[in-house]
Point group: C2
Chain length 353, copies 2
DNA sequence: TAGCCTTGCTGCATCGTTCCACCGGTAAAT
DNA sequence: ATTTACCGGTGGAACGATGCAGCAAGGCTA
């Protein structure tokens, strides 16, 4: 224990504990300036720090939010966690970290634990289409911000969804390739079950359609669904396998849109395996703009998720829900992605060569 | 609030709150079997969950440990965080996440906050040679496990250090290259100020010496010290720059030992930039074995840190310090690294070619 | 049968903070 | 002259769980 209590401060300052409490809790106007300085001095002198447990017991408030991510070992989530923690810290909040491994049951158990800990706000990063498993907690009063996910039918009544605009993002990526003259473009991902992957695919087909192409004839590679539903951890391995397969087909694509950067890096490796040059023989676009995208050889053209902003927005919304300054109905917030052109994309190779 | 208190459970079961408390706190033998089941049933029926704040206020105990890492955006730390959280969860503990960005001042502030939150155990991931900035907290009673760091003179009295054996690790890497016939081997890192980097360098020179070579003639590239003391974030960019420089020197190395995997990946990119083949023209060894090492093209030979074990061991030691089952003096624990041979290393090229 | 132990349970003070109710005193409003 | 309002504070009851001291009731010894 820090040891020093509000009583000791009160005695040191020659006032009552209530006055010290008033001083600490935004009512410093309730006392004479001299009293105020006496209290402030006493706090300094004794090195007093309020006991959070006692405060929480009394008020029911706690300055901690929960963060549930699939796995913080994934650089994308690690990065998000870092920015969320930064935003929280700026408001004096701490972040409790939970890794769900995308298992609904673990998500639910975590939420229950957090609730029992007195935590009233959680950022849930789960692309699961259904949130049925967390409904009871939400109706009990838990504030939830769902990240990387847009609203779905059957969602709880008061949910904030925050996500990048996946349709726009994939559209940007695809349009970029079309502009470079590519016509045989492939879309590569793992299973398409999760919400955001479905959206990215739609952005892809929309762009093709706008260019007057038939999206039903698009090359779509979507494997690995059986072993690992969301193709999360081995996205890169998946991409590599996809590249091998696609490049050895009759009419190989000249450009590939990947579901995310890890996948794109795998695809790049696969292209090299086939003796081709990334960005010259075959162009590749990723999604996310993880740190590695810029470090790869060649650096990866990708769709940047404004992850810092998204984390800050997530925290801000969560806080206003917790503080009940915002009690509105469910809403979705889509942040605008940005195309970052690097060297993994280039003009379509001349077919006459 | 979960709402239901120990009093309601007591009334429901027809006993006193004390009995419910006894039931919950490992003294179920102090009552008749029938009483026990009545209490258990009441808890079930009401869905009672103990209020942690109240419990913490009363006992001073809290089932949360702190984790301070340089940045969870770095895959290595993200991975460690994941495993630490797993170990903690198995014991019913939660993990509070803090990103220090390697700033001593932030480390200190975090520790003070955690202390005020009632947290009595923290895993501190800091390679800073001096821990002076956290001494006051430790002597106040905070249990500290220092990760990725070995004991130094001037450390606080009761500190557990957990780290991989860096000397052995770098020795393994270097010996592997020597066995492959390489003689011109370079060591590449950012600043050498941090503890583990110094150790890895020693492992490198030791291995050269054992092979009958003069370590003072070894090729050492250690740049970027001015701009960014620990070369953490742009380790890859650093590696790339190093590769460019080294490969254009009079007598370029045929093999390179990198301070870590990110750096090694950068070096690989630099080798390709120079029109050479990684693993054939120039061999590269990394350190850490991050997920990406296996996904790179070519896959990276590296020294694996048993990160899962290290996280589990860290938590176990931390807990026994918190519980005061282990109050021994300061100690260091070195886990054994393992060489993982992949395709980024190969026989030294024939000098006659 | 008095004295003492054991068993199974309860009463109550306590952890540190908050915040509502209230106090005496003075000044302004009615 | 009485009411009302405010000022600068204080008192004390919570918040929910814990664990010590203690208390009946029954059993044991002598």
């Amino acid at each position: 224990m820090s040891g020093v209590t509000i009583y000791q401060v009160a005695r040191e300052a020659g006032v009552s504990p209530s006055t010290v409490s008033n001083f600490l809790n935004g009512r410093p106007g309730r006392m004479l300036p001299q009293t105020r300085t006496r209290v402030a001095d006493a706090i300094d002198r004794l090195g007093y720090r309020p006991n959070r447990a006692a405060r929480q017991l009394r008020t029911g408030q706690i300055q901690v939010v929960g963060l549930i991510v699939p796995s913080v070992a994934n650089p994308f989530w690690g990065n998000f966690a870092r920015y969320l923690e930064r935003a929280a810290l700026a408001d004096g909040y701490h972040v409790l970290l939970c890794n769900s491994e995308r298992e609904p049951d673990r998500e639910r158990r975590y939420l229950e634990e957090l609730w029992a800990d007195g935590i009233r706000g959680v950022v849930l990063c789960s692309s699961l289409p259904s949130l049925d498993h967390v409904l009871p907690l939400v109706s009990a009063g838990l504030s939830l911000v769902a990240f990387d996910r847009t609203a779905q039918a059957g969602d709880p009544g008061s949910l904030v969804n925050i996500s990048v605009d996946n349709v726009v993002g994939a559209h940007l990526a695809t349009a970029h390739l079309l502009e470079l003259g590519h016509r045989r473009i492939a879309f590569v991902s793992g299973s398409l079950r999760s919400v955001n992957r479905r959206e990215r695919f739609r952005g892809f087909t929309d762009a093709l359609e706008q260019a007057g192409m038939d999206p039903t004839e698009a090359i779509v590679w979507s494997g690995g669904a059986e072993q690992e539903p969301y193709g999360d951890l081995d996205a890169a391995g998946l991409g590599r396998a996809a590249a091998h397969e696609l490049l050895h087909s009759d009419k190989p694509p000249t450009a590939i849109v990947a579901i995310n950067d890890m996948c794109a890096l795998g695809i790049s490796a696969g292209i090299r395996d086939a003796g081709l040059r990334v960005g010259q023989d075959v162009s590749v676009v990723g999604f996310d703009d993880i740190v590695l995208a810029d470090l790869a050889a060649p650096p990866l053209t990708t769709v940047r998720q404004p992850i810092g902003d998204m984390a800050a927005v997530s925290f801000r919304h969560l806080r206003s829900r917790i503080d009940e300054t915002d009690t509105g109905p469910s809403q979705s917030l889509l942040l605008r992605p940005e195309l970052v052109v690097r060297a993994s994309t280039g003009p379509a190779p001349d077919p006459r060569e």
